[in-house]
């Protein structure tokens, strides 16, 4: 859609326009540079977590998570409810910063840059890492405005009509809404809302896309459309997806991380290996449905 450069420029320009006293604005760091630098070298790991621990007040939700997410592939996170999958996802784009109780410890590299370094601006980081949440959360604005929200806040100039159509097509929603782009996003059904949120997340063209159970509210047809979409996205972007659906993880992902209760990463490997020949017995039990 647009080159690397215009985006990072737009990021800076936008900073300029926004409130200079904003406390989200830490010292200016261009995360994008480091990401591009990282991807142009031989390493094809784009996100690398090293000993990530997360606490909510005094409860530890994640224990020493270390894993490397490959570039332009789909990485799935599976595990029973409450094991910390969403928490880990939020570590990647520092959404945990917004939760007062949450405390994150450890290193998480996006490209060559530790996103928890003091000089990283979380807002600039989130412009490189898109996110789709577990519950659909469209804005009470028109469908069009929902899709364009990221572009507008990031100050990206583009052919808006084209971006709206492309993003909605990719999210398998275009045919259903093309005649009512000016209606409120809240008037859509739950599944349509979730696809709208996916369109919103991919519209500003992020590098990494985090999806927290994007298909949990969808019917089988829309689900398979979303799965196709994820496969398409993986050609261009790095996709990290949380899912409760084993078959889905097996179908769409290249790598799978299995979290188990207590917030531990039990196994992380190629999806095929995890599903056919897992190292750990607990993982095998979980996958075959013996517990969890």
């Amino acid at each position: 859609m647009k080159s690397e450069d215009t985006t990072s420029q737009a990021v800076e320009e936008q900073e300029d326009m926004s409130d200079p006293t904003d406390d989200d604005m830490l010292i200016q760091t261009d995360v994008s540079d480091s990401v591009s630098a990282g991807s142009s070298t031989v390493t094809d790991t784009v996100v690398e977590a090293k000993d990530i621990n997360v606490w909510y007040d005094d409860d530890q939700a994640l224990h020493d998570i270390s894993l490397a997410i490959p570039e332009r592939q789909v990485t799935a996170m599976i595990g029973p409810s409450g094991c910390g999958k969403s928490t880990f996802l939020r570590c990647i784009n520092r959404m945990n910063d917004l939760i007062d109780a949450a405390r994150v410890d450890g290193e998480l590299y996006l490209g060559d840059k530790n996103v928890y370094d003091a000089d990283v601006d979380p807002v600039a980081l989130r412009r490189r890492v898109g996110m789709v949440f577990q519950k659909p959360n469209p804005f009470p604005k028109s469908i069009r405005e929902n899709v364009l929200y990221g572009l507008k806040v990031q100050g990206i100039d583009a052919d808006y009509d084209k971006v709206v159509e492309e993003s909605l097509r990719k999210a398998a929603l275009w045919d259903e809404v093309k005649d009512r782009l000016d209606e409120s996003g809240l008037e859509l059904s739950g599944g349509q809302q979730q696809r709208l949120c996916i369109a919103r997340a991919i519209a500003p063209d992020p590098e990494v896309i985090l999806m927290d159970e994007p298909a949990s509210a969808l019917d089988p047809i829309a689900t398979s459309q979303i799965e196709d979409l994820i496969a398409d996205l993986a050609e261009q972007y790095t996709v990290v997806i949380v899912t409760h659906n084993m078959q889905q993880a097996a179908r769409i992902s290249d790598k799978t991380a299995v979290f188990l209760t207590g917030g531990e990463l039990v196994e992380f490997d190629d999806t095929q290996k995890i599903f056919e020949n897992p190292e750990s017995e607990r993982v095998e039990d979980y996958i075959t449905g013996k517990f969890g």
């Binding site: 300029d16 326009m17 917004l98 100039d157 997340a201």
Partner: protein, 558 residues
């Protein structure tokens, strides 16, 4: 068990005792009714004194019963049977017709008695210029934020300094009602156009609506100035009442054809009133000897009960409300946004919040003392822009501005004191509204890479705004009824129409208090005061009705 159950069912399911529940329910009902009944009795009592309905001929009652009450009830009943929301449309349009002319009256008072049309117009232009400049600046992408801020500030200051003077000294001045039409009619038409464009989803409709609204205002003003109504009054009426009613009717007719019948209700009420008035006049039935009449609302105060009117007090209350809303709106909302969105959950913020909650309960007399001590006494010579403490050692003259505004019992001090009084309420209700914006909305915005300011501006404030407005208007309703703070800051017992911010303060509750204390004759107690109370309550209820309508709309949308 399984074998037993068929026989149990055949014998019936048995009953579960609900005695305690029923007793509880009726106890709750009694509590509810007691409160409502007490207020209702008070209303009836006061209204009876003010309007004296039983002094009318029985024939008068009968005529209106037949022309107004019976047809209205009949139409209302048939509408309620029809469903599809037509009764709601009927009641809404009736409410609009009842309330909007009251607001028009308030605005007309402002233009007729307080603010010269030319002055208002010149300031409106002086504010419109920087507004247009800011919009234009926001569109450009080349300049940075600081440059934009400086440019906007320069334009604003320059425009406010020079434009009003310039306009006020232009040799050819159009007629006053035309100025009023431009000052309030043009923005109203623009808003009507934007609303129509949004609700019809069509820019062309929006443009037509805006032009129609402006045309309607101009025609109204022209007709008013040619007939006895007066150009300014007619312009204001067309703007404040005509445009919203027209927009409502157009919306119903075009977008909810099944509810069209609802519009019959206001027509029947209006027709019934006119017909009744005509019949009563031709037959010669005497109406009630109401104390609350046009003359009472529009004439000056007096020592004799017969000629006492509430007009100066009404004008004073309107002026006070203007100051209060201008002062408490931005400060209160600003504080609420800061506390909710920016300040973390530290001990200090919790302390501040507890204090604000306590301030909301502080008696109004205390606020009066604050106004007296701080605004009327300490700042009597004006705001110390360049205070004596700094100026004296340097051998310079201290500079103070606004000396005439501050001082004992001025409208300005009264308005600020009332603003302080309702500020905690405004802050708390705005906080509540902001807190009710779901966290998932904020997360969605932050997740898209929005800064805090962008999130507040694009997501939080738009969604919280109706709630904020509701709370603020209800707080204004409290301010309009306050007497004690005004007394404490030195309000006089007699006052004229406050022409300037430095005039002596006057207000309706103050006037009622003055009638009750200094002119306390029987006539005053039984007629003038009830009439004044009814005017005050009507003004307050009209304001609150806006809040109620807003709240209902807001709830529907969620």
């Amino acid at each position: 068990m399984a074998a037993d159950s068929p026989s149990t069912v055949r014998d019936g399911f048995g009953t579960v005792s609900r005695t305690a529940g029923v007793v509880f329910r009726y106890a709750l009902l009694a509590a509810t009714l007691l409160g409502i009944l007490a207020v209702g009795i008070l209303f009836v009592y006061v209204a009876n004194d003010a309007i004296q309905p039983f002094t009318a001929d029985p024939g008068w009652h009968l005529t209106f019963f037949l022309t107004l009450v019976v047809p209205t009830l009949a139409v209302g009943y048939s509408l309620s049977g029809r469903g599809e929301g037509s009764l709601r449309v009927g009641l809404e349009s009736l409410g609009l017709l009842a309330v909007m002319p009251l607001f028009a009256g308030g605005v007309a008072v402002l233009f007729l008695s307080i603010l010269p049309a030319l002055v208002v117009f010149s300031f409106a232009v002086a504010l419109a210029i920087p507004l247009a400049a800011i919009v234009a600046l926001q569109r450009t992408r080349q300049v940075g934020f600081v440059a934009k801020l400086v440019a906007a500030a320069v334009v604003t200051v320059a425009s406010l300094l020079f434009v009003p003077n310039f306009i006020q000294n232009v040799p050819v001045i159009p007629v006053e009602w035309l100025l009023v039409a431009l000052t309030i009619g043009a923005p109203t038409a623009a808003i009507a156009g934007a609303y129509a464009a949004a609700s019809w989803n069509d820019r062309r409709v929006g443009r037509i609506a805006a032009l129609a609204a402006l045309g309607g205002v101009l025609v109204g003003g022209l007709v008013g100035s040619l007939t006895g109504v007066g150009g300014i009054a007619a312009t204001v009426l067309a703007t404040v009442a005509g445009v919203p009613v027209g927009l409502y009717v157009a919306t119903v007719v075009d977008q909810h054809p099944t509810r069209r019948e609802g519009l019959l209700l206001p027509l029947v009420v209006l027709g019934g009133m006119l017909l009744g008035a005509f019949l009563v006049r031709t037959v010669g039935f005497a109406g009630p000897a109401s104390w609350l009449d046009w003359a009472f609302v529009t004439s000056d105060n007096s020592f004799s009960a017969e000629s006492a009117g509430i007009y100066p007090a009404l004008a004073g209350s309107i002026m006070l409300m203007l100051i209060v809303s201008l002062a408490s709106f931005p400060i209160g909302i600003g504080a609420a946004v800061y506390l909710e969105e920016y300040a973390g959950n530290s001990r200090l913020t919790r302390l501040i919040e507890v204090n604000i909650a306590n301030l909301a309960g502080v008696p109004s007399v205390v606020y009066g003392l604050l106004g007296l001590g701080l605004l009327a006494r300490m700042l009597e010579d004006g705001l110390p822009v360049f205070p004596a403490v700094v100026a004296d050692p340097l051998g310079l003259e201290p500079i103070r501005v606004g000396g005439d505004l501050f001082g004992i019992g001025t409208v300005f001090v009264g308005g600020l004191t009332l603003s302080l009084l309702i500020l905690p309420i405004v802050i708390i209700s705005s906080q509540e509204a902001i807190r009710s914006v779901p966290p998932s909305q904020r997360q969605a915005s932050y997740g898209m890479g929005a800064t805090r300011w962008q999130t507040v501006k694009n997501v939080v404030l738009p969604k919280a705004f109706p709630g904020i407005l509701t709370g603020t208007i209800l707080a204004l309703g409290r301010a309009i009824g306050e007497t004690a703070p005004l007394l404490v800051i030195g309000a006089p017992n007699e006052f004229g129409i406050p022409q300037e911010l430095s005039s002596r303060v006057g207000a309706m509750p103050l006037q009622i208090y003055a009638w009750a204390t200094t002119s306390g004759t029987e006539e005053f107690y039984t007629k003038v005061i009830p009439a004044g109370v009814v005017v005050l309550l009507v003004a307050m209820l009209a304001m609150n009705s806006v809040a109620i309508v807003l709240r209902n709309r807001y709830r529907q949308r969620n």
